[in-house]
Amino acid sequence: MQTENYLIRKPSLEKLFNDLIGGGKTIYAPKAKGDLALFSDVKTYSDITEDYIVTANSAKLVVFPRTEKLFSYHKSKEKTEITDAAGSTFPDVVLWGTRPCDAAAFIPLTDTFNGDYKDIIFNNRRERVFLISFSCSRSDEYCFCTSVNSGPGNTSGSDILFTKLSGGDYLAEVITPKGQLLVSENSDLFETKSEEDKEQQLAVVATRFNQVEIQAKLQNLFENPVWDDKSRACLGCGSCAYVCPVCSCFDIQDEAHGNKGTRLRCWDSCGFGLFTLHTSGHNPRETQGARWRQRILHKFLYVPNKSKIAGCVGCGRCSRSCPADINILDTLTSL
């Protein structure tokens, strides 16, 4: 679809928000918590913060929650009854305040859940998500979206992208038919406006590496001291994966209470020692170095090999949240 541009006045944003809430939508938007901004279920417009580069957590939680019920069961001596969660109704969610990198992340994420197996629950959720993104006017030393085919004003993945203009009003780029529908339903809030000075409003994010070159290099770097060197300080936690908007590994867990229970899909991380532990006791990825290598190879070699795009959107969350200050750029630029 051809992108259509509109102008939305600053006060209309709140009206749009309230209309969406009034229309029964669940809205996830950045909310301040201490020094952090977190995507949270927001009911009041004033709870939304604008003071963030990216949120600490990622937007993937609306399609790939950290705990997803797959089914519940009830055993008796004769039979076992199963209630499939795929049949339940999922909420209509509006993601408000995603950054272009957040929106871009939905593309590889959706790919993952639509490989050999089409994940019904994921797709049900994904269909009900509407992304209202906001371009970046600020960036920091962790950002590298421009190195992974994205950018501070990139539109891919979003339904609508707002860019704050110098006067305080917003440029609204409507990217998808879903976005168009929203505009038509709220036509009083959107004024026709041609694209102007968007680029000037955007943050400057320097290109840090060439993704294609990296992909090529990684072909031959499986055995290399860089992995141990760069991961030495790794504490083996899962924060990088859990804040990553693309990471999609999960673990299947049953929670049993007597003869009732549920099967759950829970986030998992390749940073954990348990991740690849075999029943035999053997662990093919025995050290953090091997785990770090997997993380980098997965995002910059395996995913691009398969899907043509990187499994990374350059949001920099993993580096920001790492308690040991392991910076993914450090590794990528030193290969």
Binding site: K75, S76, K77, A256, H257, G258, N259, S280, G281, N283
Partner: protein, 667 residues
Amino acid sequence: MSKIGVFICHCGENISATVDVARVAEAAGQLEGVAFSTDYKYMCSDPGQTMIKQAIKENGLNGVVVGSCSPRMHEPTFRKACQEAGLNPFMCEMANLREHCSWVHDKSEATTQKAIDLVRTLVEKVKLNKPLFSIQVPVTKTALVIGGGIAGIQASLDIASAGHQVILVEKDPSIGGHMSQLSETFPTLDCSQCILTPRMVEVAQHPNIKLMTYAELEKLEGSIGNFKATIRKKAKSIDEDLCNGCGTCTTKCPTKKIPSEFNTGLGMRTAIYVPFPQAVPNKPVIDKENCSYYQKGKCKVCEKVCPTGAIRFDQEDELVELEVGAVVIATGFDIMQPSGFPEYGYGKYKDVITGLQFERLASASGPTLGEIRRPSDGKIPEKIVFVACAGSRDPAKGVPYCSKICCMYTAKHAMLYQHKVHHGKSYIFYMDIRAAGKNYEEFVRRAIVEDEVNYIRGRVSKVYEENGKLIVKGVDTLLSAKPVEIEADMVVLASAAVANPGAEALAQKMHVSYDSYNFFSEAHPKLKPVETNTAGIFLAGACQAPKDIPETVSQASGAASKVIILFSKDELSRDPLIAVVNRSPAPVFSTCVGCFMCASACPYQAIGEELITNRQGKVIKKVAKVNPGLCQGCGTCVAFCRSKSIDIQGYSNEQMCAEVIALLNHE
């Protein structure tokens, strides 16, 4: 796949009167993994047990839950039945439907539902039970008896006469204990020494008894059947093999003014001494604290006069390690020094003495050769006041318990006094007269009626000296209900019987429990009065609580028979409900990280270290290891272990969790 059999007992009507047993059996049958479920009138009866055995065989059951009485009652019965049917006995669990359900609730739906819940809980547990095998422990058939008073003597003689080896350890230079200090004994007034000394000699001569006097327990490790005791033999400074007990040294020793312990300070002894003439062994020791040579570096008179050259000034304490299979504690008691009661003036006035001191005054072998003479001036007291409960039954300053023997010995003292000083007057201040025992009450009556002892029911508030008399202020709560004052020549305090000063330390060395007064605790106040909570350690005599001689002797024989029962088999079988440290596949080997917090928490020092090595013998990991011989299965370590690397068989983490989940989740 679990194939559990559930057997619900009616217990006559004990259970079925309030619990719908048929419904319990039916509900149990609906549980996943239950292959057989039934109810029966008496499960523990022969037909009941046969029913279980048959069901095991016919249905190939691999687990059994019996819903009946308390497992403390019949767990061994049903486990044995299962074993006889070829099922590992530890695959049988009991749901307590009687004591914990039918007997404590009225008949109702809720009661039946509770019974179902209890059965379901145990079914879920038994699914996770694993076959366990009893631990066989060889028995060292030597007993260690600690304390050479009448209790220790009796226990030693009994065990030795049954043909087992006995090591009798006594901390003093002679055996005999308190009984050897007594004059006559109630209620027969037979001479204490006359009945005791033959037993003492018998101990010395018994081929199966090894006597270690002047020795104390240093350390006790191990467990029932296999203890390792370390005994400290204090240096006697003589060569016992050479000494012939002639006594020349004790007569020639120049240091003669040492208060004699045996005579409770009323007589003197020398630095090299035999505590009393009938001592066993009748060989002296040197009291280093008071010996001129040890203190000042010169003297050695004993060495000069000894005809056999047996004096050894350079002798040092010796530590001896012994393997024993059972221990009898017979360390006796002590009397409370009444100095905590300044109102009685003990220590301030020479003629205020304790009951034990009176025993020595009344004893024919005592410092006054049996004449009642007061310590201050040797005069025969005309008026004597006995204070009963001088420390006993006094929660404020003394001990709250009754010392049990004082009523009787005080009556005896007054009686002995009246027999020896016919014109004398004796008074006894008392709270109650406790004379329960064969011929005891009659004895007290005799003191009152025949010997005209004045019993005054009331307490003494003060004793003070005025004009050479001891003024005893007290109250007579019965007749006059008024304060009374007696001008006495002597006051005898029936001071409380208390635990030995070293009792607490000894209990801790042996890991036996003790009460708040430091008396050792029996395993059960009624049914296990001579056992301690530590298997293989038994109690005899007043170390458990104040006791008189006949009671002490009976308990000593009881303890001896427990030891003999233990020694009647070559091997002991122990429940395998013990802790184990887990093993996991390489390269982890065990999830234990070797913090050893479990080891510091273990009450039995049962947790040691194990080094895990690779094929080249290099140590990869140091982990905890439970010694199955020492572990008693309390499971304290299990609850401690942060990584859940240690678990206890029979009460495993999985089992307990399954029980919790099953108990709280029903349809």
